[in-house]
């Protein structure tokens, strides 16, 4: 059955605390952290972008399991912050891991769910035997305008998944999507920062689509929330996934391992994939995982996953850093350094 062959994550080591951002804007940090459930977020180094993060994550995936890069027939990178508007990030990744030239590649954009859309594409190509392995990545150096609510959470990071049907460490048994034309969050060509509809991003955006896809999947898989060991929901903050989990009937324990946003922030296209990776880091054979992403604009992809014996026998999880390891030992930066790292200081134009 089609599933995850291996996976890898990369998170930059720098962090900025919500207090530090709030200090600059004269906002109440305790109130913001309390409301969002986010306390710090990752910050890329000056020379890190969605492409370097995608490469690091892909390399970490390949460190865990010997996959011949030449057999990776497709590379799809989902991001809101592809370094080029025209010129694919996926080619850079393919080249960096040695998968070129016998492969197909493309960049994906679907706000925060482009990474899970890439997984679905690879599943289709593998199932139809067009390729042996596909590499699906969600990676972002998320943008949030200075002073905007997004700035407290927009973080950097990504996760890579090799999809195939050759002894997967976890089978993807079912997937369902729920998509509508809902303008809750957008960024036009040439604009540096996304804009959003405030409270409109909640009920008609996140909750409608996450619940829509989740219910479709549960119905299709003929399962209830109780049938899953773990659950991962898209996490733009901690409040939304906690509320949607509760509304759907999942428990706080089920979502705990995959809820990385309080210490990581929102890695946009990386968010659900990193949450799933954190869950795979601790999963045992036989565990079942429910995943539902969300991308503004808007849509959700839901997955029903079963962890297999291969997670114990076929890969070496400790050959690459776990999400927990990547979150440890951060280097904190102040707002000035953060502004420099994020290119918010324009020195010459």
């Amino acid at each position: 059955m089609v599933g995850i062959i291996t996976y890898g994550v990369y998170i930059p080591r720098y962090r900025i605390k919500v207090e530090e951002i709030a200090r600059v804007w004269g906002a109440n940090a305790a109130e913001i952290s309390g409301g969002l459930g986010v306390f710090e977020k990752s910050v890329p180094d000056m020379d890190e972008d969605a492409a370097t993060i995608a490469v690091e994550a892909a390399r970490n995936a390949l460190l865990r399991r010997k996959v011949d890069p030449g057999e990776i027939g497709a590379v799809y990178v989902g991001s809101e912050s592809h370094p080029y508007a025209v010129k694919p990030t996926a080619c850079t990744v393919g080249e960096a891991i040695g998968a070129t030239p016998n492969m197909t590649a493309a960049d994906y954009e679907f706000a925060c769910k482009a990474g899970t859309a890439a997984i679905q594409t690879c599943m289709g190509l593998v199932a139809s035997k067009m390729i042996k392995y596909g590499l699906a990545i969600g990676s972002d150096v998320s943008q949030g305008a200075p002073g905007d609510a997004l700035e407290y959470t927009a973080a950097a990071g990504g996760a890579a998944y090799v999809i195939g049907n050759d002894d997967p460490i976890a089978t993807i048994n079912h997937t369902r999507s729920f998509t509508t034309d809902t303008p809750d969050f957008w960024r036009r060509e040439g604009q540096d920062y996304p804009r959003h509809g405030g409270r409109f991003t909640g009920e008609p955006g996140y909750f409608k689509h996450v619940k829509g896809a989740s219910k479709l999947l549960l119905e299709h898989a003929k399962k209830t929330p109780k049938d899953y060991t773990y659950a991962v929901f898209h996490q733009p903050n901690a409040k939304f996934p906690q509320k949607v989990a509760k509304d759907l009937g999942f428990t706080a324990e089920q979502i705990k391992p995959g809820l990385v946003v309080p210490r990581l922030g929102n890695t946009y296209s990386g968010a659900s994939p990193v949450g799933l990776a954190a869950t795979l880091d601790i999963a045992k054979p036989g565990d079942t995982i429910f995943v539902c992403s969300f991308g503004s604009g808007a849509g959700s992809d839901a997955f029903d996953i079963t962890v297999t014996d291969a997670i114990r026998d076929k890969i070496n999880r400790s050959a690459a850093p776990s999400v927990e390891k990547l979150l440890q030992d951060p280097i904190y930066v102040d707002y000035a350094k953060y502004a420099k790292h994020k290119g918010k200081l324009v020195m010459q134009k």
Binding site: N28, E31, G197, G198, R199, F200, E203, P204
Partner: protein
């Protein structure tokens, strides 16, 4: 002048109606009011609609015609008129309908109010609402409504030594009532702590001192009293309709913590109805901010100037108190779709007088009052309604 009665009421749920449009909302409220009056649309002679700023909120003007059209009345070519007086638009639409019937010009008239506020981002709605103040002398120099009412609150607290906790009790009481109102946007009870720990908006006003941004519509149908029993067994008589104006800018007022337009409209209404504040069983006042309710109950004469904080904290304005205020939950908990608020107040008092207010019912209520304010008090509409 002919006596006038309310023969039908209808209200949408108040809240964030993301999936519904401006016209969906007023059609629902109008249909409910017609159903309540067991009336078919052909009987309607005219319509008045209170709406503050559809131009800014949904880029639609010409609301009178739009409403007549979508209510299915355009083919009968009935007169349909939009009335605008900022947040008092609904109260004035009701007054226009009452005057039209009282004068003998029309018989069966709809007074509606509607606002769809959530289609724009919060900054845009704040700015649209600022149009209710003096744009040149207040808006252009950065004043917003929370800011202006914060000045009223600061002045009031300085003069009368009302405590912050007493002010917070307005919101606690209104949320208690709102939790008993099926149309309320925020039907949750809160504690004093909820208010005191909420986000500071404009000192001393916190988030829970402020009414929300709301979508909603309300409609009432009025008719000559002598025909009212054709449509309902419980007609509610309009005992008084009064309106007053004041300077549009807060700083031009004689006293910024007294709304002289409220005082004037209240006195006119009592005189017209030949009643005093002691005859009123419950009142819906315009609590766009907690301080506004404090000023309103004093300016209408329910308690002495400077004492409304203690009066509220002592429970005199709660259900079962001396004068229950905002049994609907008020603008704070029921929500404040600005153009609809004045009509919703009439719906609430009508429900109370008919004995249909469920868990928030005031037993034996026979006379109720509504108080609807535009801006910081530049327009005020007061109505007194009574059970026959």
């Amino acid at each position: 002048m002919r006596d006038v009665a309310v023969i039908g009421i209808g209200c949408t749920k108040f809240g964030e109606h993301w999936e519904r449009s401006f016209r969906d909302l007023f059609v629902e409220a109008g249909a409910k009011a017609l159903e309540d009056a067991q009336l078919s649309g052909e009987k309607i002679d005219a319509m008045y609609v209170g709406n503050m700023s559809a131009g800014r909120f949904i880029e639609q003007e010409h609301i009178g015609a739009l409403i007549a059209d979508y209510a299915g009345m355009a083919t009968r070519h009935i007169p349909a008129t939009r009335v605008e007086a900022a947040c008092a638009s609904g109260g004035l639409a009701f007054r226009q309908a009452v005057i039209a019937v009282a004068s003998g010009m029309e018989d069966i008239v709809v007074a509606a109010g509607v606002e769809k506020m959530t289609d724009v981002e919060p900054g845009a709605s704040t700015d649209a609402l600022t149009g209710a103040a003096d744009r040149e002398w207040e808006g252009f120099v950065g004043a917003t409504f929370p800011g202006l009412y914060a000045m009223i609150a600061t002045d009031y607290m300085h003069k009368y030594h009302m405590t912050r906790e007493q002010l917070a009790q307005v919101a606690v009481k209104n949320h208690f009532n709102g939790a008993r109102n099926p149309i309320a946007q925020f039907p949750q009870e809160i504690t004093l702590d909820t208010v005191m720990r909420s986000t500071m908006v404009a000192e001393p006003l916190r988030l829970f001192d402020c009414s929300p941004i709301t979508d909603g519509a309300a409609a009432v149908i009025v008719a000559p009293l002598d025909r009212a029993r054709e449509f309902t067994d419980t007609p509610i008589k309009v005992l008084a309709t009064a309106q007053a104006s004041d300077s549009i800018a807060l700083h031009d007022r004689r006293d910024i913590s007294t709304l002289d337009a409220t005082v004037a409209a209240g006195q006119r209404a009592f005189k017209m109805a030949k009643l005093t504040h002691k005859d009123i069983n419950m009142v819906e006042v315009h609590d766009c901010f907690s301080i506004a309710e404090i000023c309103a109950i004093e300016d209408l004469g329910f308690c002495r100037k400077g004492t409304a904080g203690k009066f509220t904290a002592d429970g005199e304005t709660a259900l079962g108190g001396k004068i229950p205020v905002n049994t609907s939950g008020g603008l704070k908990a029921c929500g404040h779709p600005v153009g609809a608020t004045g009509i919703k107040q009439v719906c609430e008092i009508t429900q109370q007088l008919r004995g249909e207010a469920g868990k928030r019912q005031i037993d034996g209520a026979t006379i109720g009052m509504t108080h609807n304010v535009g801006g910081t008090g530049a327009t005020v509409a007061v109505h007194i309604l009574g059970r026959l």
